[in-house]
Structure formats: C-alpha cells, structure tokens
Assembly symmetry: C3
Homo-oligomer: 173 residues x 3
Amino acid sequence: MTHNKGNICFILGGTRSGKSGFALRKSSEFSGKKAYIATAQALDDEMKERIDKHKRERSGDWTTFEEPANISGLIKYVHNKYDVVIIDCLTLWLSNLMLADSNIENESDRFISSISDVHCSLFIVSNEVGLGIVPDNAVARKFRDTAGYVNQRVAETADEVYLVTAGIPVKIK
Amino acid sequence: MTHNKGNICFILGGTRSGKSGFALRKSSEFSGKKAYIATAQALDDEMKERIDKHKRERSGDWTTFEEPANISGLIKYVHNKYDVVIIDCLTLWLSNLMLADSNIENESDRFISSISDVHCSLFIVSNEVGLGIVPDNAVARKFRDTAGYVNQRVAETADEVYLVTAGIPVKIK
Amino acid sequence: MTHNKGNICFILGGTRSGKSGFALRKSSEFSGKKAYIATAQALDDEMKERIDKHKRERSGDWTTFEEPANISGLIKYVHNKYDVVIIDCLTLWLSNLMLADSNIENESDRFISSISDVHCSLFIVSNEVGLGIVPDNAVARKFRDTAGYVNQRVAETADEVYLVTAGIPVKIK
C-alpha cells in the first residue's frame, strides 16, 4: 500500500472575509469522508451564535470535532481516516492556548510537525491580524506576533495559500 | 429605448490607502454627468477637515450629495440621471446606521437591491476593517462583522473589485 | 563617471508578516557593500528583544546604523557609499517623529526627496496599519492616517512594491 502525501491548502483572511465559506466551497471539489475541526469555544452568547451559524452553513456530510487546544493530536488521528479535513481556525486555537497559558512555541512546533505528513486534503483557515495599528496592551501585541509567526510557518509548509478579501480568494502561493 | 445595465466597480482598501483617489481616477475614464455621494458627517473638526480635503480633490465636474443614511433611496434617484456615480464610503454609512440604531440587515438588503439594476457606472468605496486584532468592545466587533458581511455581498454583486494598498490598485475580480 | 540611478523596492506588510525577512532575502540578490538602517529604539525589554532578534537574523555582511529620526540625512550619507541599503522600518520612524513632536509633513517631504536620487539598491520596509477598525484615540488615528499617506508617497516613488502576507511576497507594482 502506498501512502500518497496529502495536500495542504492554507486560507488566510480578515474577520468576516469569507474564509470559512471559501474553505467549504474549495473542499467540496474533493470527494470522500469529511472532518471539520472547530477550535471555537462557546464561552459566551456572541461566540455561541457564531459557532451555530457556521454549523448551519455546513451540510450533513461533515463530521464535526470540537477541539480548542489539542488539534495536533487530533490531526494525527483523523488524517488517515478522513479524505478532507478543515481546521477552522488557527487564530482561535492560538487564542485558546494563550488563555490556557500553554507553551505556544512547543505547541506550534507540534502542529507544524503534525501537518507535515498528512494523507488527507487539509484546509487550514486562519486570520490575518497584523494589519491594524499596534494594540495598547502587551497580551494583544504578543498574540498578534504569535499569530503572524505561526501563519508564516504554516504558509511555508502549505502547498497552496489563498488570501480572501470580501469573499474573493486570491491565490498567493 | 433600451436600458443598458450599468457597471459596478467595488473599491476596497484601508484607511488612507488611496481608495477615493483611485475611484476618482478610474471614474475619469467615463464621460457624462457625475454624482458623488458622500456618506461622511462633519460631526467634529477632524471629520470636517477630512471631508473638505476630499472635496478639494474633486474637480467641479461633480455634483455632491451628502447623505449619511438613505443611500439606497438616493441611488434609485441618481442612477438614471447621472452617468457616473461614486459612493464614498460604505463603512461610514454602516457606522452612521449603527449610531442611529437602524436595522442594518434591512438596510443592507435595500442597498444590495438598489444597486442591482443601476444604469450608471457605479463606483463603491469601502474600508476593509477586519485585518487587525479583535477589538475590546462589543460594538466595534459587531461593526467589524457587519462591514465584512456587507463587503462580501457588494463584492458578489460587483462586476469588478479592486483592493488598494498604498495607492496601488490590485484587481481581484 | 556615470551615476546609475538606483532602484527602490518598497516592502509593505503587517506585523510579523515576514517583511524584514523578505527584504533580506531579496537584497541578497545584490552584491557589494551593505547598510542596514534600523529605526527601532530599544525603549523597553519587548522592543530590545525584537531588535536583537532582527540583528541575529542578519549576517555579518551588514553595517548597521541605528537612527530613529534623521533617516533622510543618513540616506544622503550612505547611498553612494553602499551598494545595498535597507531601511527597516518607516512606521517606527514615523512613530518616533510623532513622539518627538516633529513636523511630520516636512520630514516626509525631506524623506521623499532624499530617496528620489539614490544610487544604491534601496529596500524600504513599512507596515500597513490601516486595515483594522478605527482606533479609539485621536493620536492613533493621526498616526494611521500619516502612515497611510507616507506609504502612498513612497509607493509612488518606488520602482517595485511588494505586499508580504504570512511570509509570501506579492508584487503589486
């Protein structure tokens, strides 16, 4: 049995830029079993509503995994059981790690390692957060730096990178 | 008499990215009567100065309409009386609607409907606001989501979409 | 002796987007004496760490000039003594000028004038900061406007402009 190396498509964009919608449209080009890894946590009503909205937008084809922190372990589990996997999104995952005071560098290393030999078509959704002015508080600055750094590493590993603006994807790699 | 369907050009960019300047340059390719719909309100000196600066940048060819809220009604009025129409800008319009506690969803629907069958060359200027970190306050988050959502809908309706950075337009649709 | 007009490459991007790394990679295509103009000031530990990190990323080929404010004067000094010059970055320079209560418009004029006839390969790194929501405080808004305005002027003067996202450069001019 030969293992085909999977394909990684990295989808970047701003808030409500249509990143998730594009990930769904793009992934629908592939057939097979589909897993959706949601990193969002319904900690308040605003977040709960957003999560429910995303769920309604997905068809019944998708198995949803809600995992706020250990997505590296989950990828190792799902990548050869599903043909198409979406991770939505990396920035919320990083935010969860920071809130839990995890070692971000170690977790980022683990994540990059976990996606380096996936056998599925993997779609990774992430926010670009570094295009506003420098935030007032140090935690936000640290988060912004971390997100930018992780986005760079994922983009380097990815086979394709898209930047989505107002619902319009632009392929940049 | 045949009605030619008009053309919609959607121009997105950050603050001081040269969006309005590009809209003026791009629209100057067209001849005929020209209307400029300004949604900005001179509520303070900072805003007044910005509005005046924009006015000075326009030549005398333009008839200016200052309309902070009901741009949908105004478009229906101007679109077959003028050949070229610029709306500058959508994000200020949305901001005005939020301040006035209007029903944003209804107003967005009305707006999309009003631009769907224009007979003029319509240039719509808007800000991309979702590429910074998550704002602290809920109103700003709601605004960001709304602006992103409306930008997606306008981009979908538009014939052409440009993203302007540092004065340089990139056609993304 | 003939003076060849130099080449200006303007590199825009968000925080931790890989702007500086791209400037280093891109400039390594050129041979000769290399100068690095760093505008950052090590006012606190966070900034000191960032500056040190950037220094470690550069090879010993580079002569580093730390100049927070008078980069226009420095360019006139280095542009015909070095073959390759990087300015990293414009937004910190503008921030330094604002903190020092300098006349930004005069300084911007001086800067544009100083780069207009360089004889080296000049790489200018800058942040795009206008793609988040409107900041609460007036100083941040003024800074955002100023940065956007200066970026437009530099982009207009530059021979090439790149936008870097997640480490991936996209040539927009």
